[in-house]
């Protein structure tokens, strides 16, 4: 009887081991998923980052920084020839153009963009502040004229909201402690915190320089929050946030491969 029981036990163990082996029969494999670009830019040989409507931030010129960053990224990727020209004075054009039916004068006849002085300082904190400029991006005649001047490139323009933000509330963080036996423990603790940081909300508008028509519009939103007592320069926050959304921006113009790992089963 005991021998039979032993035999049954051994058989059960074998079955269990076999079942476990079957369960763990897998292989990890690296993969690269290609994501097709949203825009077919084969008709364009040149790209003109024309500038952006952006609020005035004391620490960061979101317009110029974005222009510089996108131009250098596109140049590095070699997607298209990047036109190295002065940015367009979009704020001035928008002001001149508001309510006008006729097309604005070509850029060489426009006044050079000067930041308005206080108390008329331009503050753009959200989409509502940008609404007054929407007519500018829809002005087909204006963009067609710009396109003619720069040999009909793909024009990239839009609006950038880069604003400070402050938030308070409960956040979960991990707290390290040691039990009476000296063993380290990490436990989640909810604490009330004052946090401050920045929000970056760019809208990229891709315009066909041959027709002046908008081909594609894309809006992103990224935010970063720090402890209230942490002093992080606005410019480094801006670059950290832009770094997060650059792959998505570039993917509009070129195919991208996203690296990852998956599990193959037997």
């Amino acid at each position: 009887m005991t021998a039979r029981l032993r035999k049954t036990g051994a058989s059960l163990s074998l079955v269990l081991i076999a079942a476990m082996a079957a369960c763990t029969s897998y292989t990890e494999i690296p993969i690269e998923t290609p994501i097709q670009p949203k825009l077919d830019v084969s008709a364009f040989q040149r790209v003109f980052i024309a500038g952006f409507i952006a609020g005035e931030n004391e620490d960061v010129d979101a317009n110029m920084e974005t222009v510089r960053l996108l131009r250098s990224q596109l140049r590095n990727k070699g997607i298209m020839r990047v036109i190295d020209a002065d940015t367009l004075p979009l704020l001035e054009v928008a002001k001149q153009n508001s309510g006008e039916v006729t097309a604005p004068p070509p850029p060489d006849q426009q006044a050079v963009s000067q930041p308005p002085q206080d108390p008329n300082k331009l503050v753009i904190n959200d989409e509502k502040d940008l609404e007054q400029f929407q007519h500018l991006f829809a002005n087909v005649a204006y963009w067609k004229r710009i396109g003619e001047e720069y040999q009909q490139p793909l024009i990239v323009t839009g609006a950038i909201v880069f604003a400070p933000q402050q938030r308070s509330g409960f956040v979960q963080r991990e707290q390290e402690s040691y039990d009476p036996f000296g063993r380290r423990q990490v436990v989640p603790v909810r604490t009330y915190m004052e946090r401050k940081g920045f929000v970056l909300r760019p809208t990229f508008i891709f315009i066909d320089g041959r027709t002046g028509e908008t081909l594609h519009t894309e809006t992103f939103r990224e935010e970063i929050l720090y402890n209230a007592n942490q002093q992080t320069p606005a410019l480094s926050s801006y670059f950290e946030l832009m770094d997060r959304l650059l792959p998505a921006f570039l993917n509009t113009l070129t195919a991208q491969k996203i690296k990852g790992t998956r599990t193959l089963l037997k």
Partner: protein, 123 residues
């Protein structure tokens, strides 16, 4: 006991023994599908993804209840950028084995990428 009854009993017994000793058809098909799946893994590891797709499609045809074949097929479709096919294959694998954590993990990772692509397309 008549002669007729005896022979029919023998016949039934013989039939039972024949059926019991021969492997069932589904087991044989699973065996063949498993071979295809394993070969597919070997070629995928060498970067021959199209050959792997062929093998795993074959495995899925041989045994349409084999979740691993559909999971692997989904991974290969994903690698080839065929996201619609990948989704369908993952969903089939999950339907076959709803509690398989590895398939679910693959699917979750896939969805992250697929959602990004869908967002881009405005879908």
């Amino acid at each position: 006991m008549t002669l007729g009854t005896m022979s029919s009993r023998h016949l039934a017994l013989a039939l039972f023994l024949a059926l019991a000793s021969a492997p069932p058809a589904w087991a044989e098909q699973r065996g063949q599908a498993k071979e295809q799946v394993e070969f597919g893994i070997q070629v995928a590891q060498r970067g021959l993804w199209k050959e792997a797709i062929y093998r795993w499609e074959r495995a899925a045809q041989l045994d349409p209840t084999y979740a691993a074949a559909f999971n692997n097929l989904a991974v290969a479709y994903e690698h080839e950028g065929q996201l619609t096919k990948a989704r369908a294959a993952y969903e089939k694998a999950i339907a076959l084995e709803p509690n398989n954590a590895l398939v679910r993990q693959n699917y979750d990772l896939f969805k992250e990428i697929n959602d990004r692509a869908a967002q881009k397309d405005g879908r």
